[in-house]
């Protein structure tokens, strides 16, 4: 379980997170929506310890990660996988080497076992046969899928997705949504995705939370979101250019 309590974070004079509270239960798929620049990726980076809050706490299975040192965080991160917005594949490594990297760092596996697992993980994302290709030769959708295979390499309990469908064409975006949903159900992973793509949010989320003004202003199932009467939420999910979000 992930529990975020009263999280505050400023960058210079800009307050990004302003007392944010959210709870994500084991095995659920939580989607966090919000406008560009509202702090969704910042929240995600706090959950995995890449950023430290100014105040507040984050509990992963009742352990407060905000007071952990780097060595403890490094140990905790073995339970996490993260898919970055641009996939963040290592350019100097092949696809197979990218997926194998977490296994080589943390596992006690033989090279043959690693090769077999890499093949298995790439098979799960529908990318058999690209093991020896470098990331520069891959399309955006393929990079995202390799990123996902790498995130799953050592069977994490939690996977974080930072804008998983941004920059993809609608067909590829839907394929990624399907992949995320199927993997989450098949492997019972707790997943947290941040996105401003509503179609993606409805498809992959058991619950959807909206981040606005540094806080979660709504939390509920996709149906509850669609029936929400908060004007800020309504403007965002309808994609309207006029409303409380844009009126000054």
């Amino acid at each position: 379980m992930i529990v975020v309590k009263e999280l505050q974070k400023c960058f210079g004079s800009k307050k990004v997170l302003n007392g944010l509270d959210i709870t994500i239960t084991d095995g659920e798929s939580m989607v966090i929506i919000g406008r560009s620049g509202c702090g969704k990726s910042v929240l995600l980076k706090h959950i995995i310890g890449l950023l430290r809050p100014d105040s507040g706490h984050i509990y992963i299975d009742e352990r407060d990660i905000t007071s952990m040192n780097e060595a403890e965080l490094s140990g905790l991160r073995k339970r996490f996988g993260m898919v970055f917005q641009g996939a963040a594949l290592f350019d100097s490594l092949t696809v197979a080497e990218n997926v194998a990297l977490p296994m080589r760092e943390h596992g006690q596996m033989s090279e043959k076992m690693i090769r077999d697992r890499v093949k298995e993980k790439l098979g799960l994302v529908g990318l058999e046969g690209v093991e020896d290709v470098h990331p520069a030769s891959l399309s955006g959708g393929m990079k995202k899928r390799v990123g996902l295979a790498r995130a799953m390499a050592i069977d994490p309990e939690f996977i974080l997705y930072d804008e998983p469908t941004t920059g993809l064409d609608p067909i590829m975006a839907d394929a990624i949504n399907e992949l995320i949903r199927n993997l989450q159900r098949k492997l019972s992973i707790t997943s947290v995705a941040v996105t401003h793509d509503m179609r993606s949010a409805y498809k992959i989320g058991d619950r959807i939370a909206m981040l606005h003004g540094g806080k979660i202003i709504h939390e509920g199932t996709p149906k509850e979101l669609q029936n929400c009467e908060d004007p800020v939420v309504r403007q965002f999910i309808s994609g309207s250019a006029s409303g409380p979000l844009t009126d000054s």
């Binding site: 980076k45 995995i48 890449l50 780097e70 490094s74 140990g75 991160r77 073995k78 996490f80 996988g81 993260m82 970055f84 917005q85 641009g86 963040a88 594949l89 290592f90 350019d91 990297l101 977490p102 760092e105 943390h106 790498r150």
Partner: protein
């Protein structure tokens, strides 16, 4: 002229000085964090080897050209200054000492800083702005241990190695010019080279190279790790890495020259 202008000017200069000192402190803290991650670096031996090839072996063509011409120019300039005052049999001594103590280590370091320092900053800066360094952390791999330590070790080892080549090539370049243009016979040149030769001069020059290697790797890694703002940020990081490396090499050269050749080895 506004009466406040001198004050504003002084404030600007003062602010810049303070910012430079703060940055120097941050670079030093970064260096200490890399040094603390050294234990066990041999477990990533393949990464160190890759960096040694990139920093050392691949720099050899550039160092070859630079060194040959450095030696050639040194011979021409020395001959010009010797005119009517100093016998040409001392040409070899002057070339040997100046190359081994100063020209070899410093010019090699400046050339390598421009090539390798820029490359390190650009590569790590690109990794930073494309979140690859964040990705390493999420995998539980320390970016310092995985990226910075191999480059630091490679710099410490390969700069002295490349400098040895540079010294040799510079002396060869000087000899060729001395023989062909200055009519200095081979045995005269070689006798001069041997005349005031001391092993400690080579040692002093290589100690300088060792520290220059640390500077180049540290600056490249520091500015690369702290790049932000996309392609423009990477470009800025690259420029700052090279400029900072070159300035640091020149300042460190003075400090090391004083320490090695005046305090430790001097009379």
């Amino acid at each position: 002229m506004n009466a406040n202008q001198p004050l504003v000017g002084a404030q600007t200069v003062g602010r810049r000085v303070v910012e430079s000192l703060e940055e120097t402190g941050r670079v030093f803290i970064f260096f200490v964090s890399v040094f603390k991650a050294f234990p066990g670096f041999w477990r990533k031996g393949h990464l160190v080897l890759e960096q040694m090839v990139a920093m050392g072996i691949e720099s050899l063509p550039l160092v070859f050209v630079t060194s040959i011409f450095t030696g050639a120019v040194a011979a021409v300039q020395a001959a010009y200054q010797f005119q009517d005052y100093v016998p040409m049999r001392y040409l070899g001594s002057v070339i040997g000492k100046s190359v081994v103590i100063e020209l070899g280590p410093v010019l090699t370091a400046l050339v390598v800083a421009g090539r390798v320092g820029a490359s390190i900053a650009a590569e790590l800066g690109t990794m930073r702005v494309t979140e690859q360094i964040d990705a390493l952390e999420t995998i539980g791999i320390s970016p310092i241990r995985y990226l910075a330590v191999p480059r630091m070790v490679a710099g410490m080892v390969m700069l002295p190695v490349v400098t040895i080549f540079a010294d040799f090539l510079a002396i060869v370049g000087a000899y060729v010019v001395a023989y062909i243009s200055l009519d200095v016979p081979t045995n005269t040149f070689m006798e001069g080279l041997r005349l005031f030769f001391h092993l400690r001069d080579i040692f002093g020059g290589l100690v300088k190279s060792f520290f220059f290697g640390i500077v180049i790797a540290t600056m490249g890694c520091y500015f690369g790790f702290h790049a932000e703002g996309g392609a423009e940020g990477v470009g800025r990081a690259t420029t700052r890495a090279v400029v900072s490396s070159c300035l640091s090499i020149l300042v460190l050269d003075y400090m090391l020259a004083t320490l090695i050749f005046r305090v430790l080895l001097g009379g």
